[in-house]
Symmetry: C2
Subunit: 286 residues, 2 copies
């Protein structure tokens, strides 16, 4: 069956909560779609075609901009809960009642909120490069992250080489390959995220990360089968936060990849798709 790919899928729009959501949808229809939630200041075009097309071979892939981000209208909420509620409205507006949810970085926080607010909507969860409420250094951000995001780069892409990849030669080479892939689409690309949206995203992350009593108890209420994934050396959301997620979620598997950072899914796209698809194709553990 012919279908669109990462590079050819048109940007479509759907209205919900007074927001006009931009999205792209492609891949093998008929099963449970996989809805992708993007990282800080990322747009639909910041996903890796090797990842999205990899999943699209045997499932439907839905990429979207949440409210106030790039080609979606509305305002970025100043809480992750608000972003989760907008994501739920978007998924509902597509007429979907059962989805798998993948979230990367801030998208992983949103994915948790989707599961918390609409547990019946979510079959399985995939949490990549992310962490729990009150996770380590998630209120203030990490010193490494502040330094990386604080520098002005000659080329904007140089930022992502430092955010998503380790300094090792192997990782940087994988980073250059990822960036090349992510630029192959030339038609109808998403506009960059506005500074005001980034500021509100950052405020929402800080509020999520604020220290609380019994901060991780809420994870026990996320009953979905969950796969937690990260690189060995994530300095944006420390890798230990992925370990904490797995230790406190009641039904979670953890995978950490070697010599990799925040963007481990972009460094090892084939292994990531294989590991995640294996997880999504299993009805139960065992």
């Amino acid at each position: 069956m012919a279908t669109y790919t990462h590079h050819t899928a048109p940007t479509q729009f759907v209205e919900a909560n007074g927001i006009r959501f931009a999205y792209r949808r492609f891949g093998m229809a008929g099963g449970v779609p996989l809805v992708f939630n993007m990282h800080f200041t990322g747009t639909i075009d910041h996903w890796d075609p090797a990842v999205t097309d990899g999943f699209a071979e045997d499932r439907e892939v839905i990429l979207f901009n949440n409210a106030g981000v790039s080609s979606s209208s509305g305002e970025v909420p100043d809480t992750i809960a608000g972003m989760g509620s907008n994501a739920i409205a978007f998924i509902g507006a597509l007429g979907l009642t059962h989805v798998d949810v993948l979230g990367f970085s801030i998208g992983g926080l949103v994915a948790q909120e989707i599961a918390l607010q609409a547990p019946g909507l979510v079959r399985f969860l995939v949490l990549v490069g992310t962490g729990p409420r009150s996770g380590e250094s998630m209120d203030t951000g990490t010193p490494e992250g502040k330094e990386i995001f604080g520098v002005t780069y000659a080329k904007p892409d140089d930022l992502w080489l430092r955010v998503h990849f380790t300094p090792s030669e192997t990782s940087q080479r994988a980073g250059a390959a990822f960036l090349e892939r992510s630029h192959r689409r030339v038609e109808n690309r998403d506009p960059e995220v506005m500074q005001a949206a980034a500021v509100r995203q950052r405020a929402a992350i800080a509020a999520w990360g604020a220290k609380r009593e019994k901060a991780w108890d809420y994870l026990k209420t996320i009953r979905q089968r969950t796969l937690v994934v990260n690189g060995s050396d994530d300095v944006i959301i420390y890798t230990v936060n992925s370990f904490i997620l797995q230790q406190h979620l009641p039904n979670a598997k953890l995978i950490l990849y070697p010599d990799s950072a925040h963007g481990s899914l972009f460094q090892y796209p084939e292994m990531f798709v294989r590991d995640v698809a294996g997880f999504l194709n299993q009805e139960q553990w065992s």
Copy 2:
């Protein structure tokens, strides 16, 4: 090609270092064999046929008793280094020059020693339910472990239900199924391990676990691609030790399974075989 299975493979013997090593060897020959290193007081018969026969479908599996254990002659060394050196002698006596090494619990300590002492012998490492030198609570043993091993059980198998599985109903049910599988072989079973051997194994673990300065630096010298696996709630060798291994080994992937303990490989034999075989079949990450 007809081959032996877990239940039909004869116990064979080979001499090296003045020790007569008992082993069983079966599965698909022609590739790199996978050598299994057993847990504390375990014999060849304590492996799970669902795991060993699972691997045997596309590789050769070698199970053995290290020196002084069950049907192997000699004395249990009082250091893990001594056990590693005996294991290397055993592998060499089979005429093998390149193997994959899987170690479970104390067997995972021995596996690290094999890689340290004979790096050229080892292609890939699989470390299950184990930890680094000076790992958390590995010198004294954990309080939970002391309690579990200190009790006298009505049936000897009840010990393993507590060592390898969590108290959850699901995990205990998986435990009962594992024990049933491990008893199916009736012919030519291995004798139980003697108390004196157990005491020496315990002393070797304590010496390995002793606190040291820069205890984890040695892990940087283990260059093999490594897969570290454990249950979410190992109370014999705390799960955090698997995280520490992955964080300090230069080339390691970590997988933690949900609602599982020391014996996660026996709780999820199919998922374990799939995850490990996937790792062994990849020449490189990616």
